[in-house]
Amino acid sequence: MVKGQTIAEKILARASGLPKVEPGDFVEASVDLVMVNDITGPLTVKTIKALSKPRIWDPDRLVIVLDHQTPADRVQSAENHKLLRSFAAEFGVKALYDVGVGVCHQVVPEEGHVKPGMLIVGADSHTCTYGAFGAFATGVGSTDAAAALALGKLWFKVPESMLINVSGRFSRLVAGKDLILHILGRVGVEGASYMSVEFKGETVEALSVDSRMTLTNMAVEMGAKTGIIEPDVKTIQFLKEATGENSFQHIRSDPEASYAETLEFQVDGLEPQVAAPPSPANVKPAGEFSGVEIDQALLSSCTNARLEDLRVAAEILRGRQVKRDVRMVVIPASRKIYLKALEEGLIQVFVRAGAVVAPPGCGPCLGGHMGVLAEGEVCISSTNRNFTGRMGSPKARIYLASPATVAASALTGRITDPREVVP
């Protein structure tokens, strides 16, 4: 009998021109898309230019997103942006998303660059987000990105797969972020090292595309090479709107595919979760942190600043005021989301509540700008990493939580289970 293959194995086999691959195999695979941003892109560009005959194999397969230090916060950032713009012009790269379009991991799928079955590398560790659309997407270094651009191919080690099966229904104000934090708490930061993590089950099927992207986004926090979710009608609907196309590759794991590990999770009764510094796997129910006072509440990033996230936060903040002495910063993940939030009146809710709304981009998530922290300060954040020094001072503390928990905490000035403020 032919052994079944997972989505990850099928994609790597197809891209390598092989009938099948096994975990542990090394393959050279054709890459369908390469993404770089304004942090990693400059080194990739310099590496390409150092070739004796600088070239990129297909300018239509490169996406450049200026999102980290945008609008330029200092001269060096402005120089990096300028370098990428002139590289794009010189090499005929059409897909350059300039300052303000949004965070790369939102923009790349939203602008129709991601399709099921694709093999994507991005010079950014959260590239695994695109697995929410049934692609195999993984983060690489700047040199890898340069080689992939020059040759159209890159080497890969075929990962083992981990299956995470989720069942049950979320309680009110509990969401995808709470689930992924809960999973991280059990799996740990190395628990899925080198693996492809496949999320499955009735709970995942019931999730919106926005929430599924939150799950795959944080797969890297478990050490995973990628996170993958089988495409369904919701995925196809999103992809139709994003790409303007009507039919997509039908890709799913075979029923008899083999997984190195299978984990079962049940979300009935799951409480809002919070990850305490300095590890995203340091997770407990939000209620256990209710004594922690905050200085900043941040609703941003490729993890949680999509329309659904802004809606739930606005619902909690509507007609109320952010607590005195607390700063709330809201950064929609993309310009398109920003516009929809304007049309729905969500931005007005944030501004009236006393929040600062900043232009789409990565903001302070990785210590860039627009809300970095001072020594001793505490931030409740809808982002993905709470490492020491991640968001400014090494003596600041970051707690990770869902958009609902961030909004509720902004109202009370301490870490708050959102069900407390929305009876």
Binding site: F26, L51, T143, A147, L151, G223
Partner: protein, 166 residues
């Protein structure tokens, strides 16, 4: 691709901050980075690397950040080859890409002792412990990764490919 040297041992979970502490990331010349290789484990290690030449590690070597400075520092400090029970994913990629030979092999850390004379045949995946007279067999790297290493790194490989050399 045969490397000879003495075993310099380090434990499990050696992270990229131990290989090259964050405060040195502003350095860009490989020789400057090399002066601090493994300094995070112990301050006298950078000076010892060259006389040993072969690093023998436990599980999850190179975990942590994606900094390409880590394999670069080891390579220029005189590491000819890293043997480990397992490697962290991004370090493994970066090492091969920058021309630092790496080989994953079960029991390397438990059977080989510090200072043992070693002979590593990268192509065959064979590690000989000359001091104790035993041989360990690893799964050899596939041909194209050996080719990348032989040429000194991924971009040299890219050059050769583009020039029609392969």
């Amino acid at each position: 691709m045969i490397f000879e040297g003495k075993a310099l041992k380090c434990g499990d979970d050696v992270d990229t901050d131990a290989i090259i502490p964050g405060k040195y990331l502003v350095l860009t010349r490989p020789e400057e980075l090399a002066a601090h290789a493994l300094e995070g484990l112990s301050p006298e290690l950078p000076g010892k690397i060259r006389e040993f030449g072969i690093l023998v590690a436990g599980r999850n070597f190179g975990c942590g950040s994606s900094r390409e400075h880590a394999p670069l520092a080891l390579k220029y400090a005189g590491v000819k080859c890293v043997l480990a029970e397992s490697f962290a994913r991004i370090f493994f990629r970066n090492a091969v890409n920058l021309g630092l030979p790496v080989l994953e092999c079960k029991n390397v850390s438990s059977r080989i002792e510090e200072g043992d004379g070693l002979k590593v045949n990268l192509r065959e995946g064979v590690i000989e412990d000359l001091s104790r007279g035993f041989t360990l067999k690893a799964k050899p790297l596939p041909g194209f990764l050996l080719k990348i290493l032989e040429l000194g790194g991924l971009m040299a490989y890219v050059e050769t490919r583009l020039g029609g050399g392969i």
